[in-house]
């Protein structure tokens, strides 16, 4: 079956054929012939020749988290056959940077106003979560074009707190 795997910024073409206890896979032209065992749910034990590769796959917020040899990989799998038109709408709006809340919390302070000039790394908003105050910093130099919250507001993960241009 032909799939796309997205890891980091990169997209890879994957062709995976499972035949009983064997997997034949091709990724960007690299071919793997593997023996497959599934000792527990989400666990994929590959034998490549005599090499042992014990993968643990878990669903993550987006796609999967794969743990292998002490490393974690965030991988999204896309089935091109399931793609409809209208994909790819989130083209990069160049020059805009959104400051989003990484988790639920409470806004304790708004340090800058709309129109203020910011340096890269200057603090814009302070959010309290898990009893720690965290300063949300501007990822780039520019001008604050919007502040969407005020002190006391509850915010959820992913909420856009401010936008810098």
């Amino acid at each position: 079956m032909k799939l796309k795997a997205i890891i980091g910024e990169q997209e890879h073409d994957l062709d995976v054929r499972i035949d009983g206890g064997r997997v034949r896979a091709e990724i960007d032209g690299r071919v793997y012939d593997l023996e497959l065992r599934e000792p527990e749910p989400g666990s994929y034990l590959f034998l490549r020749g005599s090499e042992v590769h014990d993968c643990q796959v878990n669903k993550a917020h987006e796609g999967f988290n794969v743990s292998l040899h002490g490393r974690n990989y965030a991988i999204t799998i896309v089935d091109p056959k399931r793609l409809r038109s209208g994909q790819d709408t989130h083209g990069h709006q160049h020059g805009l940077a959104e400051i989003t809340a990484p988790m639920p919390g409470k806004v304790v302070k708004v340090q800058l106003e709309r129109g203020a000039t910011v340096e890269k790394g200057s603090g814009i908003i302070v959010v309290e979560a898990m009893k720690m105050q965290n300063e949300m910093k501007s990822p780039r130099a520019g001008v604050v074009v919007s502040i969407n919250v005020k002190p006391g507001d509850r915010v959820n993960a992913g909420d856009v707190l401010a936008v810098v241009e």
Partner: protein
């Protein structure tokens, strides 16, 4: 010894103390908030009492509710763990006036050493050097500005009632002072109910080294050596070791002696930790503060000395003498502990609450895990994000580091993001391996860290595993040719038997 003890805490430390109770034949009573009804520390206990809603101010910090819980089950003593009410003298006093035993020092000793300003006075009187700073709490921002200019920047602002890095700010220039002063005040008020701050001159590249002491009610105060806790983030320790990589017998004797002197001067009983800043260049040390409780990082001392600090706390609280004298204390090998937080190291260590969907902990030689979670545990936004501690022991520091890498490779947690990958990187870092530690370690590490790419074939195999998982779970499986079946013969026979039964009825 006590027959029943209530543990006024949650998470890994509650579990740790329950284990101590079990070994001494003490019935362990857990308390829990409504959010924690299914958590590990409740499941591990003999009895459990709900003390209020999720918010810790109304549950774990609710003195009346905690004491009422202890009375309702007939507990004789309360162990506060660390954090929450552990260093609250009013709580210790309330426990005692309720006719129960507080497992910790006297309320007087806690009060003296709990306020950083009075603790500094005690140190000075005991002849132990302190970092230049204000002896009294700052009255106003204006006073803070004047004092800071007097000492010269950088300076450190600290909560007078504080600990755990909350209400603490390093200020490198006058421009930063006002904003730092205000946030530190807000944080101090929120965390400790007291916004008082004091100010210290910041020591450049200091090591944070602390001495574990133990006192009993028979007048003994003994030290159990040092812990190096220089690797800190936001003034919160993340990796601790015993012994310090720069340990030498003379330094340990001098620092241990100073810590014991401070303990003796306040008639200290139970477990306590005297924290020092040590200048790497001059090997001079300064009293920083004292923690009048069991520390998060006590396992490294336990691994190297062989003493069980929780058991010793129970002994001392029950009025028995310490089970050891200074001559009995020996240090064998090297231990390193990592605090595993539900935080995302790739996203500025932001908390990452959620449900643990998969957990595999390391084991084998030299590994100790103190965990507050199991599979399917919920890491809630209400409490501290530390979920577990991994401690390793080796005969040498080098052996301990190799073991640490091995253990981190075995450790698998999914569903939440943890600081495990960060520790795995630190374990390979040259300065860490060389033991060149100071409290600026992480800031410098973040500058120099390079992400080493995984070998291509491993990345490929991870993608293949994800793709197989996708095909197994994301897609409705459409099987062609229903005559082909992979069901076993037992299943077939079972189905046939089922059909027969159905036919007969």
């Amino acid at each position: 010894m006590f027959r029943k003890v209530l543990i006024a805490n949650r998470g890994e430390i509650a579990v740790r103390i329950i284990r101590g109770c079990r070994e001494l034949g003490i019935r362990a009573v857990a308390i829990y908030s409504e959010a924690d009804a299914e958590s590990l520390h409740v499941r591990a206990a003999d009895e459990a009492v709900c003390v209020g809603p999720a918010s810790s101010a109304h549950s774990y910090l609710n003195i009346d509710a905690v004491i009422a819980a202890a009375k309702s089950v007939g507990a004789e003593a309360i162990h506060p763990g660390y954090g929450f009410l552990a260093e609250n003298a009013d709580f210790a006093r309330a426990v005692t006036s309720a006719g129960l035993t507080f497992i910790g020092p006297s309320a007087e000793a806690m009060e003296l050493m709990g306020s950083k300003t009075s603790a500094r006075r005690v140190a000075v009187e005991a002849g132990v050097p302190i970092v230049p700073g204000t002896v009294d709490a700052l009255g106003s921002f204006e006073e803070a500005r004047k004092t800071a200019e007097e000492f010269g920047y950088p300076v450190m602002l600290k909560a007078a009632a504080g600990g755990g890095g909350k209400g603490m700010r390093l200020v490198t220039s006058g421009d930063e002072l006002r904003s730092a002063f205000e946030t530190a005040q807000t944080e101090a008020a929120a965390a400790f109910g007291d916004s008082a701050l004091y100010l210290e001159k910041a020591i450049e590249r200091p090591r944070h080294i602390e001495i574990q002491i133990f006192g009993d009610s028979h007048g003994h105060v003994v030290h159990l050596g040092e812990r190096e806790c220089s690797i800190q983030r936001r003034h919160q320790k993340v990796i601790e070791e015993c012994p310090s990589p720069i340990n030498d017998p003379d330094l340990r004797r001098r620092m241990g002696g100073a810590a014991v002197k401070i303990g003796q001067s306040v008639n200290y009983t139970g477990a306590g930790t005297v924290e020092f800043l040590l200048s790497d260049a001059t090997r001079e040390f300064y009293f920083l503060e004292m923690n009048t409780r069991l520390q998060v990082e006590h396992p490294v001392t336990e691994l190297v000395t062989g003493f069980d600090l929780v058991r010793e706390q129970f002994r001392v609280a029950a009025g028995e003498p310490l089970s050891f004298t200074p001559d009995d204390v020996r240090w064998l090998g090297h231990a390193i502990e990592c605090r595993i937080y539900a935080e995302d190291p790739a996203n500025n260590f932001f908390p990452s609450p959620g449900t643990i969907t998969y957990l595999r902990e390391p084991s084998g030689p030299g590994i100790r895990i103190d965990s507050g979670v199991v599979n399917f545990s919920e890491v809630s936004i209400h409490y501290d994000p530390m979920i577990a501690k991994l401690a390793v022991w080796g005969r040498t520091r080098d052996e301990a580091i190799k073991r640490l890498r091995r253990a981190l490779d075995e450790y698998q947690v999914a569903g939440i993001t943890t600081t495990l990958p960060f520790f795995r990187e630190v374990a390979d870092d040259e300065e860490f391996i060389a033991g060149k530690l100071d409290t600026g370690f992480i800031a410098r590490f973040n500058e120099r860290r390079e992400v080493v790419d995984a070998p291509q074939d491993q990345v490929d195999l991870a993608m293949i595993a994800a793709a197989i998982h996708y095909t197994r779970h994301q897609q409705p499986v459409f099987v062609q040719g229903a005559t082909q079946t992979s069901d076993g013969r037992w299943k077939m026979a079972g189905r046939a038997a089922g059909l027969r039964r159905w036919k007969r009825s």
